[in-house]
Symmetry: D2
């Protein structure tokens, strides 16, 4: 029998786990894979729901828990956290010496992890490359692509983009986004979800509700607070009970959190409840049953597409990303948001879209990974 | 009158300065530019000739000197030094808040600087992107391209590569490599060069000599020492007096230095003198008068092309990089090196090549930089 | 005329500024001193009231703002923040090269700053050394003493302790704590204080109120949350309107904040308002007019002594610290806290104590600093 | 049966291992101890003989190898390396969660390790505290004492000093220096030592030879090179074959190394051979048979005392340290060094001294450690 391949999968935030979970689940049940799970970034932080605890509750062994996030939510703390990621992960990779490092997405921390991996001559696998968006994530995502050895983009267009950037066609596998499998694995309904964790009003999820998640756009970080104030003003005016998830840690998020806290203080009658995080299987039915999802989370593009949930996409963060019909884009202005939400409420559910893949993505990814040949030296494909 | 544009130019090693010097010289004499010079990486280290002292002797003000290099010359120290670069430069950029950050080349440290810059929403200018080589530099170079906002590649092919990678055509300016101007500014002859700095035999530069510079290939770092032993064996056999420059700090360089020290200890009769660094204007005539340049420095591709010096390019470090007729590629094997050097000695000087540009590159670069519009949000050009 | 002495004063948290302000005020008006103010640690963080903004509003120039705090509030993030302090301040001191570095207190970050200073051969002045307490601060304080070259303890006993530890008697000056001057400079009354910043109930400060500030004890950090729950339970039972200040960043503070947030959520009728920070001149009258101060802030020992405010000191954090008659110590148990607060309410104001000095401390400190001779090599006084 | 106590022993340089080896040897053969060996600092660096390889060759398992040293050998790189030590060891201790952390000596890196340990509430054992010397080590040593929970000083005076500094008498155990056991374990003679590793002249150790080891004094680091030039000048004049060991990494060591390299280059006839490191059992007989030891290594105070080797102690680095009759102190001036060496050559071997303990120290230390009760909160003993 062959020696199992040793894979270090590094999770840097709650969304990473939300999407990679079905892949990790298949890997840990496959004797051909030795899975080494590293949790870092906001995965460890209470303020973001400490997703590492979900990972452990799901029975995964976590081999390293590495704190790297600086507090401040300004550009320089964001950058310094990347620096710490590089330093700390260098130790981890030096010690574990895996065959492959597995990363997903475009977070700043993931860019740090990618550097730590490739400068140690490790073979880097990247999921979700090749997409086009706003924010600094746009640059980070493509930089990771230029460091990675194998690519598992989520759409055909993303595959095309990666190949255009000079990656070898035979190293790119567009099987879709593994979150497709999270969606199909979710059996819960909102009614049996533990909603007591958050803060704010008591909600009744048998009635209509909105789902809101708005992250800062780092390249416009100084206006984050203002943008959130507009969005919250819209929520107030729409006057439907609302589940809100706190933003990620990017530069500008303090302003957003500030706006939320002040709004809650000043609008105690508004039926809004704020959460740090949900388990992936809890989140999907919550999204599925929302009458409208408002904000700029990439989940509103991927997962909402699978589900056909009406989405009002606010601001520039997802500019350029492919999306299904269910998505209406809008500027971060109160009145415009209100108007588009009304359009979506009137429309109701959309048809499910397979733009970002369909059930079975994860199993195909794992199967392919097991067949990859590890290599070190990359070279641009010149045309 | 307009406010001068504020440019932070960051130099990370002796070669950075060697090439960027004519650009910096023009900038500091231009009242439209406020130049802020940051020296970091091996620029500060004695073992590499402390190039920061050359910068100061040339009359430049150095606003920051930042130590970031970990000792060890293994993959994890190389990675950790990048991490420190990100952390330290974040402070610098937070404080100075320049209009543009200017970087050259593909060093690991430069990748760290690029991250510190773009995560602070600064507009990044990159010189020498788009080329294709071996070593980890290949990946770092393209990752920097994906982070940078403006590009000044050295060749037409490099420009084509950058545009292919999805950069906007109007942000790419292929004016050639500024080292073309170093070459044309050099007026010295080897005879009046201060050669007493190195260690080893006394050389007579009015006679034939070889010039050797061999860096580790990080992606093959464990065999660096062996490769250098082969190269030194060839030198010994060729039996022509030799100027050798110590390698850079990349993973594997300890092995190379070890091989050199042992060779010197065991071969005291071999006429070899080892140097840490030369001033750019000293280096060019030294190269120009060498009967053959042997090794894998990118200078042997750029500067030697301008000069027509016969080059024997050893190993994979420059695989894929465009070069003039003066270059013969060879595996890092003693006998093959000897054979090819003999071919070059027989051939003698080649015709000068303008592959990497010609006099006047630097002035065009500065002129263009002064006309750039700074911006933050990048977006992949999708075809 | 003599060249002014160059002093780098480093502030790491809001309390540092609260105490050092009168010293800094005198220094900036003294032409014999060139003051270089560095703000780091929680001084920069929104969550702790961003005290750096107070510093700027008070007209001080801040030459460096350096983010070093890792988020997580666990022992390892606390330690890593020290590591970053050492690294970042090394750059600052290398660049500024002051005659003296001035530090106050026993914060973890201050230990990092002290190391950065003395390993660069700078002469370190330490204010508030020699006291005895609980928490890790006890160890940090004495370690800083062993690194510092001059000492300005706040009490005679502290002076004795420092000399006993082997410091030279002539390098120790026990003039009292500079916060004595903050107290005497404060002219405000609580009624004209801007209390609208916090979150929670609207308070009426013309009536009785409690002041609460409870930090984690790092050496018992896992029980911090529990301790705070007890304290909040006591507040609820006592049923007097309460001003609460959020805890510092030490390991365990997330638990305390968590307890506060949950308490606020579950006890909306309890008249409690929570603040991040106050200006020094606002804080003193607030403390002065409280009917009782409850918690473990060192301010409740120093400033409350000057003012004669009745204090209930909760838990082990201040174990061993000298205090005036106004202080009653109690275990972190609800019923005991309630009992002791009642004792204090009945007693009312105490006589003012000069244990920690009296008006004029700061001017004496500055005068003495200007006469110090800088030196590098320390040596233990052996008896 | 009781669970074994878990001890993380951290080695930061070759001398640490040289002294702690007998203690580690006893521990690994004791089923009551679970030994977790961490190698960091210059232990990993080729330039200092890569002592980690000796550790592995001796059959110890090394659980972590952590690179932390910045290159530059200036004060700020020394400080930054401490910062990295704190950051990296925080991870290690968070993961391993030992009962005790064991440290020896006064290196800057050890101070970083101590901080990482105590801020994680670990119980810290320190060997070799309480001594008095020059250089920054003097401050670091006492700062570590103020952080450590248990102390194993090497002399009675050191014990007295530690208690005077406010440590609890019952936590201090002055059993001597474990290097006493290295001395008694050494059975080799110089003739069977592998001397071929170094660079320089071939020596004949059956004849008289000098042993030289001179470290920088960090508090005088700018004059290190000059001091070494004086010392080398003395060697040349004395004209006895010489074994030289390269200096440690402290600020100023580049100057010393520079002086050595230049001296070797310019004085090829002087019979001098330079080594990076020796195994502890090789080093002791080398020292034992030297006709005189010259320099400022603490080994010349401890080990040379045990052996009665005549020592000329150069400069201020060991000022204040207790020493036996075999030591003559001298300023770093060529003529004075020559004069005192002549005195020592004439005198020959001294009587063995037990000032720093005698055979059996290590076994007593381990026995005591096994009986220690771990605790977290320290408190100054106030008199």
């Amino acid at each position: 029998m062959n020696k199992p391949i040793k894979i270090s999968a590094v999770l840097v935030d709650r969304a990473n786990y939300g999407r990679l979970k079905p892949v990790l689940n298949i890997m840990r049940n496959d004797s051909g894979v030795e899975l080494n799970l590293v949790c870092t970034g906001t995965m460890l932080l209470d303020r973001f729901g400490k997703a590492v605890d979900l990972v452990k509750n799901d029975g995964f062994g976590v081999s390293e828990e590495i704190y790297i996030e600086l507090e401040g939510s300004v550009p320089s703390t964001m950058a310094k956290s990347i620096g710490l990621a590089v330093i700390e992960l260098s130790n981890v990779f030096q010690k574990h010496s895996p065959d492959f490092v597995l990363l997903i997405g475009d977070r700043s921390e993931a860019l740090g992890v990618a550097i730590a991996a490739v400068y140690q001559n490790l073979c880097l696998i990247h999921i979700q490359g090749g997409e086009v968006t706003g924010s600094i994530d746009e640059s980070a995502r493509h930089a990771i692509t230029k460091l990675a050895h194998y690519h598992f983009p989520s759409t055909k267009q993303a595959e095309k983009n990666i190949v255009q950037m000079g990656e070898h066609k035979e190293c790119v596998f567009s099987y879709g986004c593994p979150s497709a499998d999270v969606v199909s694995n979710s059996k819960l309904t909102p009614s049996n979800i533990s909603l007591n964790m958050g803060v704010g009003s008591i909600l009744d999820l048998s009635k209509d509700y909105l789902l809101v998640l708005f992250h800062p756009v780092t390249t416009e970080c100084s206006s984050s607070e203002e943008q959130m104030i507009e969005l919250l003003g819209a929520i107030k005016k729409i006057n439907i009970q609302t589940i809100l998830i706190w933003p990620n840690i990017d530069a500008g998020s303090d302003g957003i959190s500030q706006a939320i806290r002040r709004f809650r203080e000043d609008n105690k009658h508004v039926k809004l409840r704020a959460y740090k995080n949900f388990e992936p299987e809890e989140y999907i039915p919550l999204l599925d049953n929302a009458v409208c999802a408002i904000g700029n989370s990439s989940s509103f593009i991927r997962d909402a597409s699978f589900l056909g949930v009406p989405v009002v996409l606010v601001g520039s963060r997802q500019d350029g990303r492919e999306c299904s019909d269910a998505v209406i884009r809008v500027k971060p202005k109160k009145e415009e948001i209100v108007k588009k939400v009304k359009v979506q409420l009137k429309h109701g559910k959309y048809k499910r879209s397979n733009l970002y893949g369909q059930e079975g993505v994860s199993i195909r990814i794992v199967k392919q990974i097991k067949n990859l040949k590890k290599y070190t030296q990359k070279r641009l494909v010149v045309r």
